[in-house]
Symmetry: C2
Subunit: 200 residues, 2 copies
DNA sequence: AACGTTAGGTGGTCAGACCAGTTTGGTTTG
DNA sequence: CAAACCAAACTGGTCTGACCACCTAACGTT
């Protein structure tokens, strides 16, 4: 053995996934079976699986088995967040970055929102069930950029660890809704600056 | 034990690194010692270490020990790419997101660049050693947002897996330099759109 | 048919053993 | 004395076998 076993095992596991035609949600062979098929000790197999689990590529359920996860649920960004945000410098930048990303998402949403989505948002506002997170989840969906959505979620999770919940007056959502309807980007951003950025 | 041992071990290892004041290049305690200090089996410790190695946070050298690595050489990307490259939606999002983040960074750099930094950039341009990555590393530094810098690096690593190197005419850097000097945000973004976004 | 019970499978953890490298310090040798 | 040598004591890498906790499904009883 010159190279690392667990790296080879990773490749072999990948091949098995391909050959068996497994896709997201499917169950992959048990640790003991992989151990046999790959002619490796169970501990080596586990070391490989642990890396995959850590990255969110697989999910292990005690007593049940090991399953492939959707790309969408990759914790890639979360993990990076975990290790990146340990940095004190990074924490200081968290708020700013979150705002910047949020403005980016507002921009996308303003371009891409559909009439149906606007109606949905109006519903939230009229029922007064709207809050900052609900609003931005809508924005992210309307923006149609999944990667950006993931990044925002991480930032938001970390933000909540350090800050109180953001509470904005209903008028912010109403005005912004109008600006989104008119596709008036400048107004959308101005409202964000007025209600969010400046208030801190 | 309700939660996963190796996650706890990861946290404890991180604490040890902090308490012992270890930084990049330093040696961390041996697996057997960690096993004792953390009151866990060696295999559990190894599973945790494997995840860290997979992410490129540590480096293990047989016979020598385990060392802390700089964050940045993550072969994480290569291995992960193997599993992700198929997802076309993610691929599309990646390009867009990278551009968006880059525009964000340009915006920050335009606001915050110092005269000294401008001189440095001019040097790169005059020596013709400038390329897309060099340019954006400068932009990120000038933007003074560490978190955004990290996010961009990750996106860029993924991007390079799937695309050719971006090569832009020298004029782009020259014009952008001027716009940055004048703090003319609109021009900076217009140049980016003209030379980068539209070319694809 | 509905309800327990049980046996087998699965991941989670551990201890101990051995292999394969590196480092270290003491011994031998020139 | 210095250089070369070598063995012991590390280090990570791997395997085995043994438990535990948990889930599922099949089996039986009511």
């Amino acid at each position: 053995m010159t190279s690392k076993m667990y790296v080879e095992i990773l490749q072999k596991i990948y091949r098995i996934i391909e050959e068996d035609g497994l896709s997201a949600g499917d169950k992959i062979p048990s640790e003991r079976e992989l151990s046999e098929r790959l002619k490796a000790g169970r501990s080596s197999v586990r070391e490989a699986l642990r890396s995959l689990e850590f990255l969110g590529i697989i999910e292990t359920r005690r007593g049940e088995g090991t399953y492939l996860k959707e790309f969408g649920e990759h914790q890639l960004i979360d993990l990076l967040g975990m290790f990146i945000l340990q940095d004190k410098k990074a924490k200081a930048d968290l708020v700013e970055t979150k705002w910047l990303i949020e403005q980016l998402c507002l921009l996308l949403a303003c371009e891409r929102r559909t009439e149906a989505q606007l109606d949905e948002l109006k519903g939230f506002i009229q029922q007064k069930t709207i809050d900052y997170e609900t609003f931005f989840k809508w924005v992210l969906k309307a923006g149609h950029n999944y990667l950006l959505e993931r990044i925002w979620r991480v930032l938001n999770d970390f933000f909540r660890l350090q800050h109180e919940d953001v509470s904005l007056p209903l008028t912010f959502y109403e005005y912004t809704w109008t600006a989104l309807k008119e596709r008036h980007i400048a107004n959308v951003l101005a409202l964000f600056t007025e209600y969010v950025t400046k208030r801190s």
